[in-house]
Symmetry: C2
Subunit: 328 residues, 2 copies
C-alpha cells in the first residue's frame, strides 16, 4: 500500500512515521510507498528511506492537492494545520491552510475518483477545540460543536466535509479529536497548554518548570504514543461499524494537575517535584478555565480506541519513548 | 436603514418583503433603502417601489458579493440557497451556491469592514437539516449537527462561519433553523415534505390531496407567518443576550399528521377531510422516518422567538394570509 502523511514534519506526524518504520505491518499490509508532505521538510526514518518521498508543499496553493493525490495514496493521514494561536492571529492564513487546504485535498480526491476508481482512507486530525465553553462537567458524545476559536471552527468545518464526502463514497474518512498531548517532547513552548507537559518533562531531566495554575485544574490528556495508536487504529478500522457519524472524540485521561504531580513524585521523587515552581498566571488561568475537562468517549472506546488510564502510564510512555527507559 | 434580502424571490423572502411593505417600522427604524437579490428576478411590492432595487445575481460568482456589499446594507437577510434535493443531486452546484456563495458574502463584509467601519446584522436562514438521524425523541438544544445531506452539511458549515465571523466582530450574525413551513402556499410540489401542506391547502379550496404516510407521523412545523416573524425578531434582537452561540433552533409545533387533519375538520368540516386520499408511498415513508419530530427550542423561546401552539393557529394564519380570511 501507499501511505501519505500530510503534516509529516509535526510532532505527531513524525512519531506516526517512526512507528511505521518500527512496525511496517501495523496498517495491516506491507507499505510499498510512503509520501511525506509538510510545509517544512519532513524527516524520513532510515528504515523507510528506500520507499519514501518527502516534499515541502502547501495544500492550499493552486494545484498542490491535485499533484499529491495524483500519486493515489491508499491511506492519507491528514495532520497538516496551522496551530490554534496562529490561526487566531492570522485570519487569512488559518482559513487558507486549515480550511481551503483540506477542502482542496478532498476535492482532489473527488476529481481523482471521477477519472478512475479511487476511494482512499482519510484519517483527519481534528481537535477538542471544536467544542466551546460553557460545558457540562462531562461532555457527552452528542454535544454540539460551538468553537470559540477560528482554529476550532476550521476543524469543525472539515469534520462536516469529511462526513459528507464519506457519506457520498468519495473517500472513506475518519476524524479523530485528540486530547491534549502529554507529555509533549521537546523544549518548553509558549502555548498556554505547555505547562501540562513542562511540569513533568523538565523535572524528569533535572530542570525547573513553571506551574501557572492551581493543582485543582482538571484537563483531558493522552500520550503521544496513544495519539499515534489512534491514527493507526483509525486507518485500519472497519468504517461500516462507524456509520455516517465519522468524527470521534478520542478517549483520554481526565486528571487534575495535582494527579500529574503525584505521579511524578512516585516515579522521580520529591526532588523532582521540588523543581516545579508555582507562579500563578491569571491570563493562563483564564484561558485554561475555558477548556473542557472530561469527555464521554464511550463511542470511540466501543470502536477499539484506547488511551491511558492514569498519569503513571502517561509518564511511563514518556520515559520509554523519550528517555530510553531511564530517568536521571 | 438599508435592508438587503438575498433570496428575495423565494417564498419566505417574498413574504418577508411583503411584511416590510405592510409594516415599514417593524425593524425598529425607517427603511430608506431596500435591495433584493436572487438568482430569479425578485418581485418588489408597490409600497416599496421608490426605495427598492431588485437584481438577479449569484453570490458564488466572482465579484458579485463584493458588489452587493459595497452598497453597505445595515441588515442582510440571507435566504439564498439551492434547495436540499438539488444540492444532493448536483454536488458542485450545492457547494458552490450554498457554501461558496455564503462565504463570499461573509468575506465581502470583512473586506468592506477593513476599509471603513462596517458591522451589519446578518440573519441567516439555516435549517433543521443540520441534524441527522438517529435522534432522541426530543432533540436537545445542545445536540450535535451530523447532517445526512450535502444541503444540511452546507448549512451547518455556514453556521460555524457565521459564529466565528460574529465572534470576531466582522458582522453581527444570527442563524435561525426553520421548522418545516406549513401551510406552504402555491401549487403542490414534489418535495417529500410537500404532503404536510398539501393535505391542508388543497382541501381548503375544494381540491384533493394525497397523504402518503400514516396519521401517526410526527413532525415539526411553523407557519410562513411565524417564519417571517423569526427573521424580523432575529434582525432586531440584542445579540449581547445571544452570546457566541449564534445559531438557534426556532420554536415550532410538534404535531401528528392526524392532528393536522383534525384541525382541518374543525375549520372546514368532514367534506374537506374527505378530499384527503390515503395512498401510502414507502419511499416517502422512509424519507420522513429520518426527519426530526421535536426540538427543545427553549433557548430561542427565552430570546423571544415564538411559533404556533397548535394546528388551528397554523390553519388560521394560512386562511388569513392566503385566502383573505375566508374558506370555500
Amino acid at each position: 500500500m501507499h501511505v501519505m502523511v500530510l503534516g509529516g514534519a509535526g510532532m505527531i506526524g513524525r512519531k506516526l512515521v517512526e512507528r511505521l518504520a518500527r512496525e511496517p505491518g501495523v496498517l495491516g499490509g506491507s507499505i510499498e510507498r510512503l509520501t511525506l508532505v509538510d510545509a517544512f521538510q519532513p524527516p524520513v526514518p532510515e528504515a523507510l528511506q528506500s520507499i519514501s518521498t518527502a516534499m515541502t508543499a502547501d495544500l492550499s496553493q493552486n494545484g498542490v492537492a491535485e499533484k499529491v493525490i495524483a500519486l493515489r495514496p491508499d491511506i492519507i493521514f491528514h495532520l497538516a494545520a496551522v496551530v490554534s494561536g496562529e490561526a487566531e492571529a492570522d485570519f487569512d492564513k488559518g482559513y487558507s491552510v486549515n480550511l481551503d487546504g483540506s477542502r482542496a485535498l478532498f476535492e482532489a480526491i473527488r476529481q481523482q475518483g471521477q477519472n478512475a476508481d479511487y476511494v482512499p482512507r482519510v484519517v483527519f486530525a481534528s481537535s477538542i477545540a471544536v467544542f466551546g465553553t460553557p460545558f457540562p462537567e462531562v461532555i457527552p458524545g452528542e454535544f454540539f460543536t460551538t468553537p470559540l476559536t477560528s482554529y476550532g471552527t476550521q476543524k469543525a468545518i472539515i469534520e462536516l466535509l469529511l462526513a459528507d464526502y464519506s457519506r457520498r463514497g468519495i473517500f472513506d474518512g475518519i476524524g479523530i479529536r485528540l486530547p491534549t498531548i502529554c507529555v509533549r517532547p521537546g523544549a518548553p513552548n509558549k502555548a498556554a497548554s505547555g505547562f501540562f507537559s513542562n511540569i513533568l518533562r523538565e523535572p524528569l531531566v533535572g530542570k525547573e518548570a513553571v506551574l501557572p495554575v492551581s493543582e485543582n485544574v482538571r484537563h483531558w490528556f493522552a500520550s503521544p504514543r496513544s495519539a499515534v495508536n489512534f491514527f493507526i487504529h483509525a486507518a485500519t478500522i472497519d468504517t461500516a461499524a462507524v456509520g455516517p457519524r465519522r468524527n470521534l472524540t478520542m478517549p483520554g485521561l481526565s486528571a487534575l494537575v495535582g494527579e500529574e504531580i503525584e505521579a511524578l513524585r512516585r516515579v522521580a521523587g520529591d526532588k523532582a517535584v521540588a523543581l516545579i515552581k508555582r507562579e500563578t498566571d491569571p491570563v493562563i488561568e483564564k484561558i485554561v478555565a475555558g477548556w473542557p475537562t472530561q469527555f464521554d468517549a464511550s463511542r470511540a472506546e466501543a470502536l477499539g480506541f484506547q488511551a491511558e488510564k492514569d498519569f503513571d502510564q502517561i509518564l511511563q510512555a514518556h520515559i520509554e519513548d523519550e528517555l530510553g527507559g531511564r530517568i536521571a
